[in-house]
Symmetry: C2
Subunit: 351 residues, 2 copies
Amino acid sequence: MKEVKLVFVGFGTVAQGCAKHLASHKKELERDYSFQFKVVAITDTVKGSILNSDQGINLPDALRVSQSGAKLDAGELKGKTGLSTIETIRDTDAEIVIEATWTNLKDAEPGLTHLVTAIENGKDVATSNKGPIALAYKRLTELAKSKGRQLRFESTVMSGTPIFNMHEFALQAAKITALKGILNGTSNYVLTEMTAGKNYNEVLKRAQELGYAEVDPSGDVEAYDPTAKITILTNALMNANVNYHDVERQGITNITPDDINIAAKESKRIKLIASASKDAKGKWAVSCKPTQLPSTDILAHVDGVMNALKISMDVQPDVTIIGPGAGGDSAGYGLLSDVLTIHRLRNLNAR
Amino acid sequence: MKEVKLVFVGFGTVAQGCAKHLASHKKELERDYSFQFKVVAITDTVKGSILNSDQGINLPDALRVSQSGAKLDAGELKGKTGLSTIETIRDTDAEIVIEATWTNLKDAEPGLTHLVTAIENGKDVATSNKGPIALAYKRLTELAKSKGRQLRFESTVMSGTPIFNMHEFALQAAKITALKGILNGTSNYVLTEMTAGKNYNEVLKRAQELGYAEVDPSGDVEAYDPTAKITILTNALMNANVNYHDVERQGITNITPDDINIAAKESKRIKLIASASKDAKGKWAVSCKPTQLPSTDILAHVDGVMNALKISMDVQPDVTIIGPGAGGDSAGYGLLSDVLTIHRLRNLNAR
């Protein structure tokens, strides 16, 4: 069994979640998927970089060092230090790059350059980074195709809840005609708590304490994050070429207790709904905005930090999937799932 | 592009649903999956059998004949007639057998013999028949493995809502720790309507008029059908060897309006819940019985003929999938999805 060489680009919560799953499922991955791996490099802007192609890097050690707050290049882990991220991607003999740096919805950097460099250097990529996939989907998928490489991004939408792998392998040949979902856990938590009678500022503060919301919560409550996600979904599942900046976006900051009460009197719930469809003339309608849902809509009952996506298609009635939308364990699992898909397809192709 | 030869065993609503999708998606299947097919035989206990390996059987013609009420061997379709089902399976050069005969939960026949004959004769199988998979899962999967053949059964549980393909390709390496679902549309419809104030007999009559319930509704309301489904799920998703006859089963026939009202007073809903888990000592707890759900459980809001399955796993919080649980379009899509998976894996293996 040949060892597959992996490199982690970015080693925050999500990458560590993936590393944890890889380490704890080592035996099963070998037994069930003939997948034996060696992590040859880890690089992180804050934690430094370490490269060791010969011996590989022991994942439990790297996780322990990282969680202790020490830097990866501080000496405990053996290997070459001081390489830049780009040098690490370019110079390793890794077959798969796991890219889990932060999302930037302005120009997608530095993630975009990481992905392009990886693919141009013949590596397959699993990424949890929404920026490049939301802003440069067409460019990246065409580049990957021209280089015969895989670009996978399960965890960019609904973290480890399977969407893209489900679409590709379990909803095959179905033509997706519409999408409707709750794609941001923080704003859904805020709306759920407001429906229970709490006020916006109080709930947002609590969300920040719980770690659901950032210090600057605008990505969530102004709906930049779920707007990026519906852009990705529309392009990847409906074969579109929608521009993130063209998607109608409205956050939840103007929702008042009155709005919620008025809706409740008609047995309706206000949810931040991302949706996509194409009208009869072929024009795309893609948006993310607060929407009143009747209680007969299952999405009205998806509460707290959960995410959900209702998929309409030509071959059968709607299928809805509900699951986690964030968190290191879940997003880390999405990355692992991508790595395994890459491995399985590589292996089958190589026979 | 080599034509893949298919044979339909059983040509009722579900098989016709699959045939319809195959015919209407012909171009896309060729373009996107390099899948070109020829139906070389159709056999049905009621409609007769027709075999034509050279020219193949035109699917739209077969559908039209079948829907007109005429028999397949009445003369309009050209080919050899009079073969038994077993002869058809054995004597065709079909690569894939689509088995869609009726479910028999007593001894799984004649479906079981169809599947065994197909696999022993070197054919891959897609089946919508719950009987053989619920009663003889271990025997069939071991036979398929020993012959290097694929046995796929997506549509046996939640029809075309992806469960088994999702588990295999999109929840890979996740260890499933518990299952909990609504797996029978008819009984869920009856309970939903009873919750809205109608009485059992009135609702059952309406369900029969709508075609949701059989003239003998015991398979649904006595929970034989969802019990077979949770047996299949437990064995296939949790690597168990649970016997269908050992699963605790309780139908909905004893549920009274009082039961529903008492539950409603505590904001609870009564649902026919199928579930599976293993206790700390490794003992399986698998059952299908009416259960009170709090309104915080998303399954409490799955109404009408919809089905749902909540999947618990080691790597991340629960994922729930909600979708159709019956109908020719949906179950027929499940068969098509299986046929495509068979084709994709055969193709990749053959490279």
